[in-house]
């Protein structure tokens, strides 16, 4: 493990209690994520995995505990534009074209027009959407919209990519395709990714490590190293080790949350 200053994300004793209804969402979460990792947070709905992601991204304040992102406070990291965020819905701006959606964070960061144009071209190629730059979001399929959202999140080279069930609303085939694309993009950009999912197989396929969470209050039930070799391909899904790891995760989930997981 790297030193604390170099950790991409370092959580210590992170606890979140929502005032309204006194919901104890997260309890004493300790977690270190090294630069370049792709860590999945998995757990049944209501285990606080999205809340944890939002705490890392400084969209929600923890009740207690410290959050360091690249050695800085989460707040400072947000102001420094260290985060790329992708939600379950693509959340594209309907009045902007694909190219302008991708360029939005660059506009805010004060990039000049020619630099923006070059970058957008690069990103459009990265997510294989060349030819669709002038389209509007509603003219694209769900999978394509999600690729625009990923391109937008990566456009300004954030140190940390935070993804909250980005492929949860997509069909199985699109999802598997985008899983492969995400791995390719991650390997190309060497950024750190924190990925929230409720899919066991998706977590195994994508991650370097999977953090299993138990619900109410959300705790870390276990951390599983995914030792499948890189680069992963469609064949990875047929390896015995892939199934072993999926079973291991399933058991960890079942151990703590008997009713919540079928």
């Amino acid at each position: 493990m790297s030193t604390e200053a170099a950790a991409a994300v370092s959580l210590a004793g992170v606890t979140k209690i929502f005032e309204r209804g006194q919901t104890h969402a997260l309890d004493e979460i300790d977690l270190e994520i090294a630069p370049g990792e792709l860590v999945s947070l998995i757990g049944p709905s209501g285990c606080g995995k999205s809340t944890l992601l939002r705490i890392i991204g400084d969209l929600v304040e923890p009740t207690r505990g410290t959050v360091l992102v690249g050695g800085k406070s989460a707040h400072q990291a947000r102001l420094d534009r260290d985060y790329g965020m992708v939600f379950q819905e693509a959340v594209l701006y309907d009045w902007r074209t694909v190219a302008k959606n991708i360029a939005l964070p660059l506009e805010l960061a004060g990039w000049d027009r020619s630099r923006r144009t070059d970058r957008v071209k690069e990103m459009v190629e990265l997510v294989e959407l060349a030819g669709f730059e002038g389209h509007h979001p509603w003219q694209l399929s769900g999978g394509m919209q999600m690729r625009v959202a990923i391109a937008r999140a990566l456009s300004f080279d954030p140190k940390l990519l935070l993804m909250d069930e980005p492929f949860g609303a997509l069909d199985e085939m699109t999802r598997e395709r985008l899983n492969l694309e995400l791995l390719r993009i991650w390997e190309a950009s060497r950024s750190t990714v924190v990925f929230v999912t409720h899919s066991i197989t998706e977590a195994v396929f994508l991650s370097t490590r999977v953090v299993v969470m138990s619900p109410r209050p959300g705790r870390v039930a276990g951390v599983v190293e995914i030792d499948l070799p890189h680069p992963r391909t469609a064949d990875t899904r047929e390896e015995p080790r892939y199934f072993e790891l999926a079973t291991q995760l399933r058991e960890l989930l079942r151990g703590r949350t008997a009713e919540a997981v079928h």
Binding site: F87, L104, L108
Partner: protein
């Protein structure tokens, strides 16, 4: 009442009429604009937060564009209401050569010359439609990119 009150202030005669027309259109447009500014998805605003956007940038780049469909549907209603307001406002005013004055005038001669009153009605209706179409045109230019289901 507004017309009589403002009429006694030495202002140009059209001012009280304009005030009535504005009064009739201001609230529907203001309320819809506020609703529109609030219509941006919470996720869209969170995204702006994650880009460290200033409140001003969020207003300009997200809230305002998201509000436009609301603003324009209110403006379409207001365009016709403003004509109604102007005509009604003219009735108690001293403007004789306006549409409201003409309606009042021709109303008295309806039994002799019914066509004149109907002509004023047609002119009033055409004016309302023209205002409406003007707003539609501006909307087409400004919200060019809006998907069909929003407009």
């Amino acid at each position: 009442m507004v017309v009589i009150w403002l009429g006694g202030k030495g202002l140009p005669v059209w001012v009280p009429v304009a005030v009535i027309a504005a009064y009739l259109t201001f609230f529907p447009v203001a309320i819809n604009t506020l609703r529109g500014l609030d219509s941006a998805q919470p996720r869209a605003l969170e995204l702006m937060r994650s880009y460290a956007a200033s409140p001003w940038e969020t207003l300009w780049k997200v809230k305002l564009p998201a509000s436009l469909p609301y603003v324009f549907s209110a403006l379409k209603v207001a365009a016709t209401a403003s004509v109604v307001g102007a005509i009604i406002g003219e009735l108690p005013s001293s403007i004789q050569d306006g549409l409201g004055g003409a309606i009042l005038n021709f109303n008295q001669y309806y039994s002799i010359d019914p066509a004149a009153l109907w002509a004023t009605n047609i002119v009033a209706a055409t004016l309302g439609i023209a205002f409406f179409l003007a707003v539609v045109l501006v909307e087409k230019l400004v919200v060019r990119a809006a998907p069909e289901h929003v407009a």
